[in-house]
């Protein structure tokens, strides 16, 4: 297994995926496998970077969301084809590993991909799929008593679900490995929420699990004791509809185009405003403003490329700051988010006049 995925391979694969050429893309991945490229390398060096590139293209409005989803579908097919074609050697010798996406997490591809990589590394993997309801997962863990459960979370707004899953799994005596982009840089919010181990990506996870000879639930009492969070995220989450409505009204007053929005445009905007509150709540939950500022930078990119003036976003943040005057941490985070918008320098470059979504 000396062959590796080259930059040309990635370029070619991206080309295929971009044209929705499902069968050729799958064939190409299988051909790499025939060329003695390790299947995990195909997933981690071909599929994963391509997915990241696609995400960027969508954020920069160069690809439609339908194109992005069609490409993800092809990646899914590649994972399935490789999984069928390349059986694991010594399957299951490391023990039983349950892989599940947290409740409300419908991005199954990263977890699926992780599951296959772990299977090739000798685990008996039980992949429970996207958005596994916590009671369902808990029941499964109790009945089957696996050695480890890997909890996948791709979007930080699911971290409250993730924490419930982590606690429930540990209470069932099953140690937890947390992973996925939702747990933040180096999966550090996974540690904050009390996971026994965290992994930044699938390769790291392989190492983490290999160096964990007899997984056991650690001393969670200490972690849970130190994880003191006030109820701000709950209180604010409850006010989401009112916050969004107030911000919407403010926008309509300040930006004439908003008042003339079609239903679809208004709904899309409301969804974005709602996301801002959701990410704010998630950041408050893990007590890390970076969760919120990272989201605001990303949103800045997404909206700027769609010719939405960032002054509109600033207006929304200001509205939230007025409404949430009695939540000091939230105020600080919103201020940091607004600063982040300024610092990207995008605000200055964006047109001040109103423009439609």
């Amino acid at each position: 297994m000396t062959a590796a995925v080259s930059a040309e391979d990635r370029a070619h694969y991206f080309e295929l995926v971009g044209h929705g050429a499902e069968v050729p893309a799958v064939d190409f991945a299988l051909a790499l496998s025939e060329r003695d490229v390790a299947p995990q390398d195909i997933l981690l060096d071909l599929v994963v970077p391509t997915q990241a590139r696609i995400g960027d293209l969508w954020a920069r409005n160069e690809w439609s969301v339908a194109q992005e989803h069609a490409a993800t579908h092809i990646s899914d097919q590649v994972v399935a084809a490789l999984a069928t074609r390349r059986r694991a050697e010594h399957a299951g010798r490391r023990g039983v590993l349950v892989v599940a996406c947290v409740d409300g997490e419908w991005h199954a591809l990263p977890a699926r991909l992780f599951a296959e990589v772990m299977r090739w590394d000798g685990w008996d993997v039980r992949f429970l799929g996207a958005s596994v309801p916590t009671p369902h997962l808990v029941s499964y863990l109790h009945r089957h008593g696996p050695d480890v459960v890997a909890v996948s979370c791709s979007v930080p707004t699911r971290l409250t679900s993730a924490q419930r899953v982590i606690v429930a799994a540990q209470d069932a005596g099953v140690p937890v490995l947390a992973g996925g982009a939702g747990f933040g840089p180096d999966a550090r919010w996974g540690t904050r929420l009390g996971a026994d181990r965290v992994a930044a990506d699938a390769r790291h996870a392989v190492e983490v699990l290999r160096s964990w000879p007899s997984p056991a639930v650690g001393d969670v009492g200490a972690v849970r004791g130190s994880f003191v969070s006030d109820d701000d995220h709950v209180l604010i989450a409850k006010r989401r509809p009112q916050l969004v409505a107030t911000a919407m009204a403010e926008l309509a007053q300040r930006i004439p185009a908003v008042a003339r929005y079609t239903d679809a445009q208004r709904e899309a905007t409301e969804y974005d405003l709602d996301q801002v509150v959701e990410f704010l709540c998630a950041a408050l939950f893990v007590d890390d403003p970076q969760l919120f500022t990272t989201f605001m930078s990303w949103m800045g990119t997404v909206l700027t490329t769609r010719r939405v003036p960032l002054s509109a976003v600033a207006c929304v943040l200001d509205t939230y700051r007025r409404e949430l005057y009695d939540f000091p941490r939230a105020l600080a985070y919103l201020a940091a988010g607004r600063l982040c918008l300024n610092e990207t320098g995008l605000e200055a470059g964006a047109p001040k006049s109103a423009a439609a979504v």
């Binding site: 971009g18 044209h19 929705g20 050429a21 499902e22 069968v23 050729p24 160069e62 690809w63 439609s64 969301v65 339908a66 194109q67 989803h69 069609a70 993800t72 579908h73 409300g104 419908w106 309801p133 009671p135 369902h136 029941s139 863990l141 109790h142 009945r143 008593g145 209470d171 069932a172 005596g173 509809p241 679809a264 969804y271 709602d274």
Partner: protein, 561 residues
């Protein structure tokens, strides 16, 4: 009592210069004035003697040579001290030789707490008998430990619903707290699985199983499994020896207690101690039985839970939609999101299978009234009836008629809406779909030419009237054309407070944006969009089935960017 005081004073001045106790300091001079000093022969003034002898505390003074100079009655009686004689050899003498300070010492079964203070050439000692106090504290601590042990046991046993894990936890909790080796034996009728923990240098775990036939009648284990506690029985060591680890050595004391369940005991707990360790005290036996009651209840609850969860799982798996087959010339996609998530099944259903002639494909998508497991089971019945009817080779509308009549036979007919269809490939490769509906929302047809239109068919819901009639329609599909079937959970999904239903217009708009993407992507997107619309709070089940004629390769996404 004064005559009992014997004091030897070699340096009389020392008494006045260095009072016995700093506490007595202010009065010493006066007292010495009034009553005179201890004489050279060692006798002490009667008033002082009276005061000292009245104390329950042992008060005495020792000179540098280790000779007792003054001792009150309590010191004489308890410590066997005599004025003018050295402190008797033993632990006390050793302590008294050291520098003055506090000490804690066991002498003649008594716990003593002492405090010393230098008084010039002598050291004055004040010693209290704290035996009763310590015993009370020890008893309190032991009781507190037992309560904490039971509380911790309850917490750890209660957090598992897995019987094996509960049995393991039971064994782990008792070692080394209560025994050097613990074995939990579970009663599975013929086989008796066991879990063992022993604490030899390091804690090791093992498991295995016995057969019922291996248990001698009336042996300790057999008795425990029928509900009797066996303790300090000379035969016990022989009875349980096979369950102990090799090299455990001679058993000091052992007991076997039943693990009471709901009804019969669920198993037995064997505890063994090494020969060197103290035997089980009565308080410990009581504790073990209380612990066994908790462990038995937990293990029993796990068994009940597992039985029910396994049954539910079996039901769920039999009702889950089967994976879609691969059909030449077609792309298929489906999405399924039950609202009642605990079992992840619902009254919505779909399926696609080859027709009896092997030339056609039959499909269905439907929605049984109701939610959760009851609706799911009813939908299972509908699907089974339909599968049997499919073998008759009837046209879709005829299938619905028969299905409706079969449903109406029940006293409590299942109320359902559904679409059934047949896919046939013509000689020219063109694909024809024949649809019939029973009161279901019309499927949407996405033509590659750009239009998205509902396929209108007439028909009433199943389970309403025996005379129900069902219409039929035929559509010819070209490459890339797509039919989207969905349940009303899609269009009637409620948005957040104040927002309307998702509605057909949003669905059409969404589908238009996804024209040209593979069937699986369309199905998943519809379900996800609806889920987002409800902000992750689906009130009703959602099922989507997408049937797409294979488009010409590499023309999938043109014009999308």
């Amino acid at each position: 009592m004064s005559d009992e005081i014997k004091t030897a004073v070699t340096q009389p001045s020392a008494v006045s210069d260095h009072p016995v106790s700093p506490l007595l300091d202010p009065v010493t001079a006066d007292a010495a004035e009034a009553t005179g000093r201890a004489d050279d022969d060692g006798s002490v003034d009667p008033l002082w003697a009276l005061l000292l002898n009245g104390s329950e505390e042992m008060i005495f003074a020792v000179d540098r040579g280790g000779v007792v100079r003054i001792a009150n009655t309590a010191a004489e009686r308890t410590l066997k001290l005599r004025a003018g004689r050295p402190v008797p050899r033993g632990p006390l003498a050793q302590v008294l030789q050291g520098p003055p300070g506090t000490f804690e010492l066991d002498v003649h079964d008594r716990r003593l707490h002492g405090r010393g203070a230098t008084t010039g050439q002598w050291t004055a000692w004040y010693v209290r008998d704290v035996t009763e106090q310590v015993m009370r504290i020890d008893a309190l601590l032991a009781e507190r430990w037992r309560s904490a042990f039971l509380a911790e046991a309850g917490r750890r046993l209660g957090s598992s619903l897995n019987r094996t894990r509960a049995a393991r936890t039971t064994a782990l909790l008792t070692v080394p707290a209560l025994a050097d080796c613990a074995v939990v034996l579970l009663d599975d009728d013929r086989t008796l699985p066991w879990y063992r923990v022993d604490d030899d240098d390091e804690r090791t775990e093992a498991s295995g199983s016995l057969t019922r036939a291996q248990l001698a009648p009336d042996s300790a284990l057999d008795q425990a499994l029928s509900g009797l506690t066996v303790q300090d029985d000379p035969r016990l060591g022989d009875d349980v020896g096979d369950l102990l680890p090799e090299g455990f050595g001679p058993v000091g004391s052992a007991m076997v207690v039943p693990l009471p369940g709901h009804g019969a005991p669920v198993g037995a707990l064997l505890l063994a101690r090494h020969a060197g360790r103290a035997p089980f005290e009565s308080a410990e036996v009581h504790l073990v039985r209380q612990f066994a009651a908790r462990a038995g209840a937990a293990i029993s609850a796990c068994a009940l839970y597992t039985a029910q969860a396994d049954a539910a799982d079996l039901v769920r798996r039999s009702l889950e939609p089967a994976a879609l087959p691969s059909v030449p010339g077609l792309l298929l996609g489906a999405a399924y999101r039950p609202a009642w998530e605990r079992l992840r099944i619902s009254g919505d259903f779909y399926g696609l299978r080859p027709g009896p002639d092997g030339m056609t494909w039959l499909f269905v998508l439907g929605d049984v009234f109701g939610k959760g497991i009851e609706a799911a089971i009813r939908s299972g019945n509908v699907r089974q009836s339909l599968q049997a009817l499919w073998l008759t080779g009837s046209r879709p509308s005829r299938l619905l008629e028969l299905l409706n009549r079969a449903t109406m036979v029940d006293a409590d007919p299942t109320f359902a809406t559904l679409i059934v269809g047949e896919i046939a490939t013509g000689p020219d490769g063109g694909i024809t779909v024949t649809l019939a509906t029973g009161g279901h929302p019309p499927p949407l047809l996405l033509r590659t030419t750009g239009e998205t239109v509902p396929v209108e068919v007439t028909g009433t819901a199943l389970g309403v009237s025996e005379q129900a009639r069902f219409g039929e329609t035929e559509i010819v599909l070209g490459p890339g054309d797509t039919i989207v079937l969905y349940t009303d959970g899609v269009t009637e999904a409620r948005g957040q407070s104040g927002q309307p239903f998702f509605g057909i217009d949003r669905l059409v708009e969404e589908l238009s944006a996804y024209r040209g993407t593979p069937a699986a992507v369309i199905a998943e997107r519809v379900a996800q969009r609806v889920n987002d619309w409800t902000r992750d709070r689906l009130q009703d089940d959602v099922a989507v089935l997408v049937i797409q004629v294979q488009p010409p390769a590499s023309h999938l996404l043109e014009g999308q960017a």
